[in-house]
Symmetry: C2
Subunit: 258 residues, 2 copies
């Protein structure tokens, strides 16, 4: 039985003030840090701690490396931006466990959640996710595009707020345009749309627009896109960006409002 | 122009190790704490800090009280369990702003995100939210039940993972049974179902079952329910609870798996 362990750690969207004490403690105590190089670069350097940086596309091999280290008695933290459970490393680690060495299932493994990009983006704006919402990755690396379309249509027709992860890739820049065409055919043109770029990092930029006016090519690999429901509201302010929120009542403000 | 401010703060699901440094700093510096009494009770007592505790159902009046304090030059933190932007206080505050005193829009207002219950529950289990998912409140206090049904049906038919907030209330215990009947008519009986009770608190309890075997009356007011997609997997372990995860590939494990 290995004395090692594996912690799958969410370090949040970028701002250290959004990284939980649990995540910070795990990262401080680990003998080995495993992760995508830009995420590891956010963490303080420590002597006697080994870093295993890898490229973006190598999630399963990274997961296997982390499991193999834990099986060799290391205290391993595999780090993920945002929340590891939301379009990040945790699913890859559990895939690697299910399909890998049987003794990996007996390892001491736990997940430390983190603030995900949609939460950071929502916080900057108000409360756009304040009512029922769907979270969809536009990446079709691992799923057929018709399934993405089916989910976008279902989300639009049932009037969910929609958060889109991985809205753009260099390989498939047309996908976000296809997605917006589907949504425009099913939702009002005045529906609020948010492009939140690199929230919590130095280059943060947030744009609030409408479905009619939105230019989908504004989305890049560090953008989180939120599309409102029919109830989502924009509160204009003088000399400040607007607030965007989705009321707790699905039909907008209660008709009994004083 | 008021010198006050209002911070809408997420204190996470219960475990202090899940409360962000940003949230802790805001709570420490506030002159006035406003919130549902059990959430305020989690925070350390401080001299020279005024507490304004209220009951659960009073979200809008609580939001107005917080805004009025900020307008009177107070440093106000309105606290919320979980993430204030996900079925919590932020939407109520922005509703109160939109429908309230015009000068409230000029106040210094910001949201501090937190770990939401679905993330804490997912972390305990593995990665059940590892692919596209929908987040639905079953409360029909502020929305018509047919809209809840429409959204459950859309989520089931497009094969999303589903996270259910507010699955049960004393006033309407039948709603969770109605929801399960809808889902059972549309999803496989072996679909993994999770009842996560009071995650991060002393009374935490997590149950993993299947849609066929699930007893909806297990859900209470402190339960977060997760229902898998057709791809969601359960990894059995010897002498430990199973892992539950949803693979990054929508069709389950890649067919090219070695």
């Amino acid at each position: 039985m290995s004395k090692g362990n594996l912690r799958i750690v969410g370090i949040g969207p970028g701002d250290a003030a959004w990284m939980t004490p649990e995540a910070s403690a795990i990262v401080a105590q680990a003998s080995d840090l495993v992760g995508y190089a830009p995420y590891l670069a956010r963490l303080p350097e420590r002597a006697a701690q080994t870093r295993h940086a890898s490229d973006n596309r190598e999630e399963i091999s990274r997961a296997r490396e982390a499991l193999a280290l834990a099986a060799r008695d290391k205290q391993v933290a595999i780090v993920s931006g945002g929340d590891p459970g939301i379009f990040a490393m945790a699913a890859a680690v559990f895939e690697a466990i299910e399909t890998g060495e049987p003794h990996w299932r007996a390892l001491d493994i736990a997940v430390a959640p983190g603030i995900s990009a949609m939460q950071a983006a929502a916080a900057r704006l108000g409360a756009p996710l304040g009512h029922d919402f769907c979270v969809i990755s536009l990446s079709d690396n691992l799923k057929p595009w018709p399934l993405v379309e089916q989910r976008l249509i279902a989300a639009a027709e049932a009037d969910f707020v929609i958060a889109l992860y991985n809205p753009a890739s260099k390989a498939r820049p047309e996908r976000i345009h296809d997605a917006f065409a589907l949504l425009r055919a099913r939702k009002g043109g005045a529906t609020p749309v948010i492009f939140a770029h690199a929230v919590g990092r130095a280059e943060e930029k947030i744009e609030v627009t409408s479905l009619d006016a939105a230019d989908p090519s504004r989305a890049n690999m560090s953008t989180l896109v939120i599309i409102g429901s029919s109830a989502t509201r924009v509160i204009a302010r003088v000399g400040a960006p607007p607030f965007v929120y989705t009321p707790r009542s699905a039909s907008g403000l209660p008709s009994t409002w004083p």
